[in-house]
Amino acid sequence: QNLLFPVGEGDFNWESYSAFDEAVNLDGQGLTIFGPWRGEDQVLFESILAYFTAASGVNVSYSSSENYEQQIVIDTQAGSPPDVAILPQPGLIAELVRQGHVLPLGDEVQSWLGENYAAGESWVSLGTYDGPDGTPGLYAFPYKIDVKSLVWYVPENFEDAGYEVPTSMEDLKALTEQIVADGGTPWCIGLGSGGATGWPATDWVEDLMLRVAPPETYDAWVSHEIPFNDPAVIEAIEEFGWFAKNDAFVAGGSASVASTDFRDSPNGLFTSPPQCYLHHQASFIPSFFPEGTELGVDADFFYMPAYAERDLGTPVLGAGTLVMLTQETEAGRAFIEFLQTPIAHELWMAQSSFLTPLKTVNIDTYANTALRQQGQILLDATTFRFDASDLMPGAVGAGSFWTGMVDFVGGRSAADVAAAIDASWPQ
């Protein structure tokens, strides 16, 4: 097996690796893992799996699919699930857990998570679901986090125009207006994503929700304790509308928002003259920047600031994938154990597009400053909240919320849209 980083070299926590190596010996056992990662992400993940295999002797077969949500539903319901499933949708996980297709991870893992992840309790609660009998338990292990509260920009465009990185929402809005006044267009927003069109707007709304209301409201919103058309939610939607529904603020006018593909929309940053100066998107977006764009030089990001006057701290919105055991296997348990070693995080951190709240990792192993800064945002967060649309039931989070947002930018009022979404909430 070719391991990317030779064992023992570099700043990695090799002790945790050798400890795991010694403790676990499952030579010849097999493990099937099903996950969302394809393409480059798959290569990255498989490079991590190589270490797991080297240490435990387990033969891992990883697979993924374009329609992995559908796939996992079919596989579990038909009774041929993989051993381990990795999914980015807590809503879907909740459904699977409720149907009894997922095994509880146990108290040990739960307490480990609480202790070792920064803001541990929020991660525990993220992995905790109501089992088939209604009793909650830890079913999913968060691994690989994305930060969503990021605004991307081109530093040199800012320099050329003489703009500063804003530190508060008020500043951000002022900057927006300033750019318009200078004859530019501030934002590039694209909601297009084929069948999932609309989801980037949900990130906006969630991010803004954390900035107009306290996190408890956010939680109540997610769990439908308050209706979707609660004034707080409507306010957040209207905040988004402030950016997206103003023709002058958005490249191509608000009409193009819903149709521009989210993958294309950051390109506006890099045209000359720039179509736009700002782009709100999660940490994965650089892979859609033009070829050869150097992060930190050609493009950079800043934390989507909070309102100075509202005093809600520095909330961070994020997302991530969760690992579940869908079959009882020794190897599967061992894999969860492996994920608890710092090395399982560091090895990926050292490559790219991986953030972790695990406190015991060596933050220097991040591949570049951008990643490190994102990691820092994660660590600096006073509040961390998981993407609400991923937490809500699929009918909303992967359905009416998306379409509602498209309708909203298409002209419907926030109240209307919110009421409609609320109506679609499954009873």
């Binding site: 539903v73 069948g195 006018g253 193009s256 819903a258 179509q275 699929g394 499954p426």
Partner: protein, 404 residues
């Protein structure tokens, strides 16, 4: 083992098992169970012949039963249960009917059901007829067939590229917008985008009116089912003519947003047609291949007789060839109609039912795999299946007729 060798063995085994079933089953039937020998030879043969159809049919019935019929019943059952598995009667249907999205899907589906099979069959027939008569026909055929070889998702991607819209200040990479941007509201634009459609629509309305007149003319003396059928068709034709005229008027008074790139997939109502174009583009190849085989089966002497009777190529086509392949046209039409009911990939990939483009299949998919609402998903599936009933009746009628 070498993977290629492995594949070959696996292929041979798979096909071999299938072939040997038929061969052996026949052998057993004729030689062992009802041997055509001895005292009861005659009776045995008759018996064997009574069993044989079922022998031939068995694998097909088995597969169809297990792989399609059984799921249908399972689905029917599911549609009467909520997601927790409790029997709720028709409540899923009630809920579904009260959802505006469902109404929208049904409406759009109707549109799809009218436009796509008609357009694909018409284009397919045109292509089949014309390509058979020219030397480079087989090349043309291959090109028209090519979209068939592209998956639905791939096709959606291609067409997204065509419908793509950029800001007016940027070069358009969507072909349709690039063309659209050539129009500036001048005389050429008016001719192309207003006069031409008006002419086409008015012609269509006139043709439909004429059709109505033809239908009504032969009314007296016709049998009752005929009268009803004719009346229904006449009403439909009249309605369509009205629609065409309204659209023609719309085309006269419309002021087109020249100079602004259009989001084709977001123009309400019209976007349905842009989605349909994709399926028509794909399915025309299917229609063409099947119909061209049928056209070639039309006895040449009947065509020659028509030539001598003085029929022009159009009359030969419409009065001699088309009626003779009407069975095949029905088959093609049916197949495409059914495909229209089932295909959701295109809508899913291009709009996911947003901007009022939802269709039943995608609605069902949504309920099944997004909302995990198997009850409603199944109910939607049942509606889809209910929509084919007319086609079913039509085909049974046809089958009966030709067996007589």
């Amino acid at each position: 083992m070498n993977p290629a060798l492995n594949a070959v063995i696996v292929i041979v085994a798979g096909v071999g098992v299938c072939v040997s079933y038929f061969w052996l089953a026949n052998l057993v039937l004729d030689k062992v169970i009802f041997p055509a020998r001895g005292a009861h030879a005659g009776r045995n043969i008759t018996r064997a012949n009574r069993v044989r159809p079922w022998l031939f049919l068995f694998p097909a019935l088995f597969f169809v039963g297990v792989y399609l019929a059984y799921p249908v019943f399972a689905t029917l059952w599911l549609s009467l249960n909520d997601r927790a598995g409790n029997f709720v009667g028709l409540r899923n249907y009630n809920r579904m009917f009260s959802e505006p999205k469902f109404g929208e899907s049904l409406r759009n589906n109707m549109l799809w059901l009218i436009v796509v099979p008609a357009a694909a069959t018409a284009f397919g027939l045109l292509a089949a007829q014309l390509t058979d008569r020219i030397r480079w026909g087989s090349i043309a055929k291959s090109i028209i067939f090519m979209p068939m070889a592209i998956s639905f998702v791939g096709a959606s991607v291609i067409w997204k590229l065509i419908y793509d819209a950029r800001d007016a200040s940027l070069p358009q990479i969507g072909l349709l917008n690039a063309v659209w941007m050539q129009f500036d509201g001048g005389i050429g634009s008016v001719l192309m985008l207003q006069a031409l459609p008006v002419i086409v629509l008015v012609t269509m309305a006139l043709a439909l009116g004429f059709g109505t007149w033809l239908l009504m003319r032969g009314l007296r003396g016709a049998r009752v089912p005929q009268v009803i059928l004719r009346l229904v068709l006449a009403v439909i034709a009249l309605v369509l003519a009205g629609v065409a005229l309204r659209w023609a008027w719309g085309a006269v008074v419309v002021s087109l947003p020249y100079g602004r790139p259009q989001q084709w997939l977001q123009l309400p109502f019209w976007n349905n047609f842009f989605l349909m174009a994709v399926l028509v583009w794909i399915q025309t190849g299917f229609a063409m291949v099947i119909l061209s085989a049928a056209l070639r089966g039309v006895p040449e002497d009947t065509i020659e007789a028509a030539v001598l009777d003085g029929a022009n190529p159009f009359q030969i086509f419409f009065k001699i060839k088309a009626p003779q392949i009407i069975g095949t046209i029905v088959v093609v039409w049916t197949t495409i109609t059914i495909l229209v009911l089932k295909v959701f990939d295109i809508v899913l990939a291009m709009t996911n039912g947003q901007w009022e483009t939802q269709v039943l299949a995608n609605y069902m998919y949504d309920k099944f795999f997004r909302a995990f609402d198997t009850g409603m998903g199944s109910a939607a599936a049942m509606i889809i299946m209910a929509l084919v009933t007319p086609i079913l009746v039509w085909n049974v009628w046809n089958a009966r007729k030709e067996m007589r």
